[in-house]
């Protein structure tokens, strides 16, 4: 099936390989490089699943550990092999997915074969896991424990969520990574890395024929093992309204988050776009609220707003630095009440929609960005990677006002603060 973006004229071919793997290719002949991403719906929040009649509970950080160790095979490691091909490779584990990717100017076919090969052929030993643990421990220290930017995010999640694994760092903890075994990694690989769970997206100076031919050779057919992630029971309320911690920081850092019920599929994309627009309207850089707080010295230019959403969580948040974080939260709540009472100005809302449209058109204009957008759409099971520009014109002021009432409730807010210490 060929999918075309009516706005930009971009198009891609979407096919389902006989193994069940979904493959999406955007040919961009004018570009010098090509990018490939291989993604799977297994991330840090997938901590309990059942497969083959067995329920498995995973230590925090298992998906991330698996990502690290998949690069190693009996003959060496894939990183070295990518380097020999002149390809730039990497991988990341997020809350809801793991993605392996590379970009190359030459030897794209060999690099794609390598990508498909190492992701499908795990090789884990106790010795190699032991070697990896201190490396991941340093990663946890660097990004989670010594970085106030990361720490404030997880502090907020710990305040908002009672049980949901989104409150745990993607890389796990210094303790939890010690509980991961080769058998556990094999079990996860069998359960979540079935060809039918994988999505492969390529873009740039590559043809669909080339990608499909390589996939035809390299994708394994395996007897299906159906892994069913267990639903994550999570109350609608916030766990605590306020949470504090101390770190070496120059002034208090804060994050205020509003928790609301999650949605899935296209509705999630629509609600996320609306959430971002509403936050920009209320407290974005051009808003009178943001300008007033800057002028009063309550915030500085680190202040920002964002939507953090997934299929089992929905958080709208504001963060920054302030000597009086509680006052910023209270002012934000007052502003939300004011906007809810007075309604949204259609003209400003239209300008923000135009800005979001401009961002969407400009952001996907390179092979790497196109491959990433296609992977995101397929992982989220969206019908097209070009939905944002199609959805934006249909978002209404009324929907935005409803979102304020339902998703920015004063009884569903948590304030996390890191104080200088």
């Amino acid at each position: 099936m060929i999918i075309t973006d009516p706005v930009t004229g971009d198009s891609c071919l979407l096919v389902t390989h006989e193994s069940g793997m979904r493959i999406c290719v955007a040919e961009q002949p004018g570009f010098h490089t090509a990018s490939a991403q291989l993604g799977v719906r297994f991330g840090s929040v997938h901590r309990r699943f059942s497969a083959d009649g067995q329920t498995v509970t995973l230590p925090a950080g298992t998906a991330h550990f698996l990502e690290h160790k998949l690069y190693e095979n009996a003959d060496g490691d894939a990183v070295t092999q990518f380097a020999r091909l002149g390809a730039s490779d990497n991988a990341y584990t997020a809350f809801d997915r793991t993605v392996y990717y590379f970009s190359a100017q030459q030897h794209f076919a060999e690099a794609l074969t390598l990508l498909l090969d190492f992701v499908q052929n795990p090789y884990f030993t106790e010795r190699s896991l032991e070697k990896e643990r201190p490396i991941i421990a340093q990663e946890i220290c660097e990004y989670s424990l010594d970085s106030p930017d990361d720490r404030i995010f997880f502090l907020l999640m710990e305040g908002l969520f009672h049980r949901h694994p989104v409150r745990c760092d993607v890389a796990g903890t210094l303790d939890s990574i010690g509980q991961i075994t080769p058998e556990l990694l094999y079990q996860c690989h069998r359960a979540f890395y079935q060809p039918s769970d994988l999505v492969l997206c390529c873009a740039g100076s590559v043809t669909a024929g080339e990608v499909l031919e390589i996939a035809g050779r390299a994708v394994k057919r395996r007897p299906p093992v159906k892994a069913v992630p267990e639903p994550i029971p999570e109350p609608e309320t916030v766990r605590v309204p306020e949470l504090r911690e101390q770190m070496t920081v120059s002034k208090p850092q804060f994050a205020a988050g509003f928790k609301s019920p999650p949605v899935t599929g296209e509705a999630l994309l629509r609600q996320t776009l609306l959430g971002e627009l509403v936050l920009d309207y209320i407290a974005g850089q051009s808003s009178p609220f943001c300008q007033r707080l800057l002028s009063e010295g309550l915030i500085n230019d680190t202040f920002s707003v964002s939507a953090f959403t997934g299929e089992s969580w929905f958080v709208l948040m504001a963060e920054g630095e302030s000597d009086t974080p509680e006052r910023v939260r209270d002012e934000l709540l007052r502003e939300i009440t004011l906007v809810a009472r007075e309604g949204i100005d259609p003209e400003r809302f239209a300008a923000l929609k135009r800005a979001a449209y401009g961002d969407a058109v400009l952001s996907v204009n390179s092979p790497a960005a196109s491959a990433e957008a296609m992977t995101d759409a397929l992982i989220r099971r969206l019908p097209s990677p070009y939905l944002v520009t199609a959805l934006l014109p249909s978002l209404t002021v009324r929907e935005a006002e409803t979102l304020i009432a339902e998703r920015l409730r004063p009884d569903r807010v948590c304030l996390a603060v890191i104080e200088p210490g």
Partner: protein, 424 residues
């Protein structure tokens, strides 16, 4: 891709790069400035003062609101340090007119806004608007204080202060608090007028198609200024050191960071580029393969080099107590390259990786503009084909020779606590 360069005023060079693959337009305006302790905070303030309001949009938030209405057009200011000089630059990006939903003349509007901000700033009695200045200066002071938040950036900054002590390159990017506190709105306005008059200016536009309006507007804007260009050199090699300087600082953190600065006198730029890549930047790179993977001493360990300062910097995050072991392991990798003891295939892998990076940069308008600006700062023309030819001419012996010229000038250690950290 077509490249056209012209001088539109004394010391004002404009490079237009036409590339139909892109949907957006990008215009970067670079002002080359000498670095001094007194003016560093002013440069930092100008990135904010000139992009947050103008005489046309004086009200708080009005400029941002206008940018939103222009389909998320953007106009940030920034500061890049290069050697003993600074590149104060402004970057305007906007959607090509062809994609405007209602036929709005986006290029026209954005150019008016950009020239308005830079050439008609929001001044009152020869000074920037007092309220706007107060907010910007407070942001700057908070930024200076916040240097301690990002441990990696903090370690790099302190390492530069150690390695380049007494040279302008040791001045922190945003200057120091005492100087930032003493700056006035009038100082900033006066320095900006002087910069417009005297700084060498490099304008780079990456456009999907011809935009005659761009040259016309920029030429008009500069025609109102009596230019007397003062040359600024981005090349300022640091003098050789008699002995290695060690400095240690402690901080309440879980991980330690070390930064090792090596200096060299003369070396081939391309050989040094490949040496840097051989040390870090690919999966086979020596620091990754040995210091991280084989010895498990760190998670990140990377090298970068400044051709302007003739310096190669290696930074690393390690377990407290393992700093010296990591330093020895890093130094051993440099020694190995000096002796030519590296995998035979590594130079070729690194050449491929460099060639890929250059190709990838050509696949985005931002990458093209950044590469062009870097070439211009180094006094070179932006010519990807010539760059590739030079890259391909470097031999493994030249890389070993480049490594042989490195002398360890300083080691900065930011030490965390040794008890092993906090576990959930």
């Amino acid at each position: 891709m077509q490249i056209r360069t012209s001088e539109i005023a004394g010391g004002v060079r404009c490079t237009e790069i036409l590339d139909s693959r892109f949907r957006g337009c990008l215009l970067t305006l670079h002002f080359a400035l000498p670095r001094e302790e007194k003016t560093a905070p002013v440069h930092a303030l100008l990135t904010d003062l000139l992009t947050g309001s103008s005489a046309d949009y004086p009200a708080p938030g009005a400029l941002n609101e206008k940018l939103d209405s222009l389909y998320a057009a953007d106009f940030p200011g920034s500061l890049t340090l290069c050697g003993d000089a600074a590149d104060l630059y402004f970057s305007a990006s906007w959607l090509d007119d062809a994609y405007a939903l209602n036929g709005e003349p986006l290029t026209d509007e954005v150019l008016s806004l950009v020239t308005g901000c830079l050439f008609r700033p929001h001044l009152k009695d020869g000074a920037f608007d007092a309220e706007r200045f107060r907010i910007c200066r407070q942001n700057l002071l908070d930024d200076i204080d916040a240097a301690v938040n990002d441990k990696r950036a903090y370690a790099l900054r302190r390492a530069a202060e150690t390695a380049f002590a007494g040279e302008p390159a040791s001045i922190p990017p945003q200057g120091t608090r005492p100087f930032a506190e003493s700056v006035t709105a009038a100082d900033c306005a006066a320095l900006w007028q002087e910069i417009l008059r005297t700084a060498p200016v490099d304008l780079i536009a990456v456009l999907p198609q011809e935009k005659p309006l761009l040259m016309q507007r920029l030429t008009e804007a500069f025609s109102g200024i009596r230019r007397e260009t003062r040359p600024v050199s981005f090349s300022a090699p640091s003098p050789p050191r008699v002995q290695t300087e060690y400095r240690t600082e402690e901080m309440d953190m879980i991980q330690s960071r070390i930064v090792m600065t090596y200096l060299y006198d003369r070396a081939d730029r391309m050989a040094m580029t490949l040496l840097c890549r051989m040390l870090s930047g690919t999966g086979s790179s020596l620091l990754f393969a040995n210091v991280r993977e084989k010895e498990g001493l760190c998670y990140d360990c990377s090298a970068s080099f400044s051709a302007a300062k003739h310096a190669l910097v290696i930074e690393c995050g390690v377990r407290p107590g393992m700093e010296q072991a990591a330093e020895a392991a890093i130094d051993a990798q440099i020694a190995a390259v000096r002796q030519g003891a590296f995998p035979a295939e590594l130079p070729e892998e690194c050449r491929l990786a460099e060639a890929f990076s250059a190709a990838a940069a050509q696949d985005s308008s931002g990458g093209i503009a950044r590469a062009a600006a870097a070439c211009h700062r180094a006094g070179l023309a932006y010519d990807p084909a010539e760059w590739l030819r030079q890259l391909n001419s470097v031999t493994p012996a030249q890389i070993a020779e480049a490594a042989g010229k490195l002398r360890l000038a300083s080691v900065f250690r930011l030490c965390g606590r040794e008890e092993g950290g906090r576990a959930d």
